[in-house]
Symmetry: C2
Subunit: 137 residues, 2 copies
């Protein structure tokens, strides 16, 4: 590709259930190994960002969602200790579904006390923004 180097592009999903729980994974790899995180990962070349978000969600949790709503774009150069990434974050709702951990996720579960956990990366900020957007919508 003839393009200059740019931050690596990732997509993350905030999925709420009807009880207000959030679908989180336990990271299987460094950085933040073992910590709760939003399902997500790197967008492939040739893949729309929304499709990357759905693919990562499916691979890590087995869950499929309907509409994806844009929360925001998170590109602080220090957000990932490995290097500069830019995450596009979406929220979605599901009635109920049982997650099955896969790919980079050591576990995948509905978490009700997510505010009390230390989340990987800037995912606490993304979740707080998602909650505000959910209340507005």
């Amino acid at each position: 590709m003839p393009f200059p180097p740019t931050p690596a592009l990732t997509a993350d999903c905030v999925v709420f259930d009807q009880a207000g729980r959030v679908l989180l994974i336990r990271r299987g790899n460094e950085p933040f190994k073992g910590q709760y995180a939003l399902p997500g990962g790197f967008v492939d070349i040739g893949e729309r960002v929304e499709d990357g978000a759905r693919r990562e969600l499916r691979e890590e949790t087995g869950i499929e969602v309907g509409d994806l709503n844009l929360i925001g774009v998170y590109s602080d150069p220090d957000r990932d200790p490995r290097g500069h990434t830019c995450s596009v974050a979406y929220f979605a709702r599901v009635d109920h579904a049982d997650p099955v951990a896969g790919d980079d996720a050591a576990a995948a579960e509905w978490v009700d006390d997510w505010r009390t956990h230390k989340l990987a990366f800037d995912h606490a900020r993304i979740l707080a923004d998602a909650e505000r957007r959910r209340e507005d919508s």
Copy 2:
């Protein structure tokens, strides 16, 4: 960087003036050389997307803006004939400012009949989305 290859990250700006005109550039380079386009370009590693949007706007038009409002994320793999790019688009308002073309821009001007022009890339779609967002806000 230890990251897999991802789409190249760009930022574009829709700037409206009080008369509803839009700040457009004439592209100085291929692709779409000579066509109207939104000011924008590639985000540098180490730079937040919003900062990249402001830098490209300043370099191409000489104009500084206040708040940037997220319009959306545009990542169709075919949106750029050179390869897969993902653009984060913002809108902003300025009271009045005289643009000065620079960098990749052969010209920079306020355009009132922008709906009648064929714009580069998917910029017509971005502009239509921006107009809806501007009416909502």
